[in-house]
Amino acid sequence: MTAADAPAARVPLGTRLHILGRMLGIQASWNYEVLVGTGIGFAVEPGLRLLPGGRGGAAYRAALARQSQYFNAHPYTAAVAVGALVRAELDGEAPARIERFRTALCGPLGSVGDRLVWAAWLPFCSAAGLLAFGLGAPPLVTVGGFLLLYNAGHVALRTWGLHVGLERGLKVASALGHPVLRQGPQWIGQAAALVGGAALPLALARAIGPGRTLLGGVLVAVVAAAVLFARLHGRVEAWKAALVLLAVFAVVSILR
């Protein structure tokens, strides 16, 4: 074991689990003032108890004050920051260096998490759930399968992030070059496109019920309207437009 590894090794398993548990609530006080800043303080706090003087000591209070300031990141990839910041505090890094590091970490962790999780993993899992529904899976299988699949990735990402942060401390930036983080959105995006494509007609068929003629007509209309919305490039939020159309349809159906 190298000297650089020692502080990470000092963080006992119980403390790591405590930090992981707290990270599940990292956004509980999310706000437009400090964003997820208080949540970072909340998550790193169990690790800061290992500082000289223990809980409530001068080092502990100074570190907790630093870590509860403004911070922005994706809630899952924030685990990388949490681990790295605990390690930096335990290593006794200079406060100014820690604050610079915190500032530098915000952007990359936010964009990596958004691209990997919100724009790739979640849509993929959602499409897989809809595919299961379309194939006729019962409620327990559809819902259970979706939750197991999604949270396998979710928990793995948080656990890996905390581990790599604790291992590398202020040198954690290199971990953001991990192939899963760099190439993952593309691989998962390709899978989501395939699964999403297969899920759409199958989910439509199960939700509408038997009757090929009606289903065929709906499919053609869906493709035409989806192309129209896609070509609007976000100028119209499709779900809001659909909400208005649905409300009009309901009123007409009630009044006729």
């Binding site: 964003l35 208080t38 409530g56 724009a119 959602s126 327990l140 949270n151 593309q186």
Partner: protein, 236 residues
């Protein structure tokens, strides 16, 4: 699992659904973000609570198609699907099989709830901000009590937000859905096709927007549709 019929016990019947709406509303942002709040899950759980998980799943699948467009990216404003899906799933599960307009009205109520729920999250974030501002001095001294207090206050307020939202949305929607169903004049299957078609349109456009720039994703999407159509022929 005991079923809680939504229309049998008056106002008290709302409470189990409101508790579920509160818990699943909490999952959207505050805790634990395990996607229990996704419509596919939340509406099915509400349907199960009402004694009809299959009906909840159907409403959930339709809402999930809508939800594909609105991803919870950063500080952007997005609909709150957790509590809203409980409302949609519970309303749909409370209706008899094949009720005319049932799916349209339940989904409509859920979409409006999701919109209002999204606005309520913005209000909550502002309140959290005011609370954080009031504690800045104590936070600057490294007060663990302030840190924990702010997290717990935020979570509790979010739980209350989801509870109130579900109670109000279900309480307001129930009579409206009953009124709408009583006067519904469009064929049941056509009604269902309209709402499912709109949902699939939103989902199709969303998937295309998300992945059209990814190499080979366009062809994979088209290939997926073809595979889905082939699988449809094979399914009973």
């Amino acid at each position: 699992m005991p079923a809680f019929p939504l229309d049998a016990l008056g106002g008290f019947a709302l409470l189990p659904f409101a508790a579920l709406g509160a818990l699943l509303g909490l999952d959207v942002v505050s805790f634990p973000q395990a996607m229990l709040s996704r419509p596919l899950v939340a509406a099915t759980l509400a349907g199960a609570l009402a004694g009809r998980p299959g009906a909840g799943l159907l409403a959930g699948a339709v809402l999930e198609l809508f939800a594909l467009e609105t991803l919870p990216v950063g500080a952007s404003r997005y609909p709150e699907w957790g509590s809203a899906s409980v409302v949609g799933g519970a309303l749909y599960a409370a209706q008899p099989d094949g009720a005319a307009g049932g799916l349209v009205l339940s989904v409509l109520a859920a979409l409006v709830t999701a919109y209002v729920g999204g606005a309520s999250m913005v209000v909550l974030r502002r309140l959290n901000g005011q609370l954080a501002r009031a504690h800045l001095e104590r936070l600057a001294t490294g007060s663990n009590r302030s840190v924990v207090g702010l997290q717990l206050a935020g979570a509790a307020a979010d739980l209350l937000r989801g509870f109130m939202l579900t109670v109000v949305a279900l309480g307001a929607s129930q009579p409206l859905v009953a009124f709408g169903r009583a006067g519904w004049g469009t064929d049941t299957r056509l009604s269902r096709a309209v709402v499912v078609g709109l949902a699939a349109t939103v989902a199709g456009a969303a998937v295309w927007k998300l992945f059209h720039a990814v190499p080979r994703a366009r062809w994979l999407f088209v290939g997926g549709i073809a595979a889905g159509l082939l699988a449809m022929q094979a399914l009973p």
